[in-house]
């Protein structure tokens, strides 16, 4: 291939996609970056506020006259939800900064660490905290010995919602996070010149 052909292709590309003004591009970049930061803060604030409100509502349900089983269930549910909220919020803050300016290998290692942290959080939630909170919820309701049809419907709906969340978390792991981790491992191995196992 001749360099002149490449140069001609470059020139054609420039004519197909006219260039925008640099100042305008820079201004747009700053505006979007600022918007992303604001959105991050807003989402985090909303997440924390909703979490705290839910926890406060659960705490308000505590009544010393209720049976021990109900109060214990409520306590387990509240603690499990608080741990999930804390884990999610702190991880998002931790992963907020990345270093794309680093050399390939170092940056990939950082990305691997980020994905691993997300996988660990999802696994912890799916294996321990979600089942624990579901158990807490059931104990709470059983302890209260409510048997009205409305209560039964609510319990069934909550159980279905919990199972749905667990299914969604497992799917996210299987379809998104684990393949991404595998791709990063492959890229790291390619950088080091070593083949990586194709097994999961």
């Amino acid at each position: 291939m001749e360099l002149e052909h490449v140069k001609a292709a470059w020139q054609r590309e420039k004519s197909i996609y006219p260039l925008r003004d640099t100042k305008q591009m820079a201004a747009e970049t700053k505006r979007r970056a600022m918007k992303m930061d604001q959105e991050f803060v807003r989402q985090q604030a909303l997440r924390i506020a909703c979490g705290l409100l839910s926890l406060a509502w659960l705490a308000s349900q505590y009544d010393s006259r209720h049976p021990l089983l109900a109060n214990a269930g409520l306590l387990v549910l509240t603690v499990a939800l608080a741990l999930m909220l804390a884990g999610s919020v702190s991880l998002r803050f931790r992963l907020r900064t990345s270093h794309p300016e680093w050399p390939d290998g170092k940056y990939l290692a950082e990305q691997r660490e980020r994905i691993s942290a997300r996988i660990a959080l999802v696994r912890r939630n799916m294996t321990w905290l979600f089942p624990l909170s579901l158990l807490g919820f059931l104990l709470w309701q059983i302890g209260l010995s409510r048997s009205s049809p409305m209560t039964m419907v609510i319990v069934i709906m909550v159980v279905i919602a919990f199972l749905g969340i667990i299914w969604w978390g497992c799917r996210m792991l299987r379809k998104d996070l684990l393949p991404m981790l595998k791709a990063i491992d492959q890229e790291l191995a390619d950088l080091e010149g070593e083949p990586v196992s194709r097994e999961d």
Binding site: E13, A26, A33, P100, E101
Partner: protein, 162 residues
């Protein structure tokens, strides 16, 4: 922490120098529907990374290229894991033109050059005159001619027969 005005100046300087190359690279690595997203992701990643730029560890061009390379890889990785997003990354057949192969060679070749050669090569592609190149790079015209000639030889050696 970098001074905000200095940060803006560096962004503008880099964009003015590399905006053509950045657009080509985004189009080489994403589909017609998503190349602008990739280009924007790169610009935002670079803008954010400038907070840590001190000018001592590497030149701005090298810094920018590292950000570009890592952001492109991230983009491709993120977009290949679901069928829906895969469709965005897989080039639209209508978009794959004859020129793309040549532009992918530009991307490949520029990544292998050192920083001064890259700068000269990009200006050569932009059809800048030697006097303009000399004004931008601070090199004299004779040295630039020699450098361009060396780049042409290197290009021919690497892509001869393709």
């Amino acid at each position: 922490m970098i001074d905000p005005r200095e940060k803006e100046r560096l962004l503008e300087e880099t964009l003015s120098q590399y905006k053509v190359w950045l657009g080509v690279l985004a189009r080489n690595n994403a589909s017609e529907d998503s190349w602008q997203d990739l280009e924007q992701e790169i610009r935002i990643a670079f803008w954010k990374s400038l907070d840590r730029y001190d000018g001592a560890t590497s030149g701005l061009g090298t810094w920018f290229r590292a950000v570009v390379s890592n952001t492109v890889q991230d983009f491709k990785r993120k977009n290949r894991n679901s069928k829906k997003r895969d469709a965005r990354v897989r080039p639209n057949p209508a978009f794959v033109e004859q020129d793309r192969d040549e532009l992918r060679i530009v991307e490949d070749f520029t990544c292998r050059l050192n920083e001064p050669d890259r700068q000269v090569f990009t200006m050569y592609l932009d059809d800048r005159s030697y006097s303009e190149m000399a004004a931008s790079t601070g090199m004299d015209e004779a040295a630039l001619r020699k450098r361009v000639s060396r780049i042409k030889v290197q290009f021919k050696a690497e892509y001869n027969g393709i």
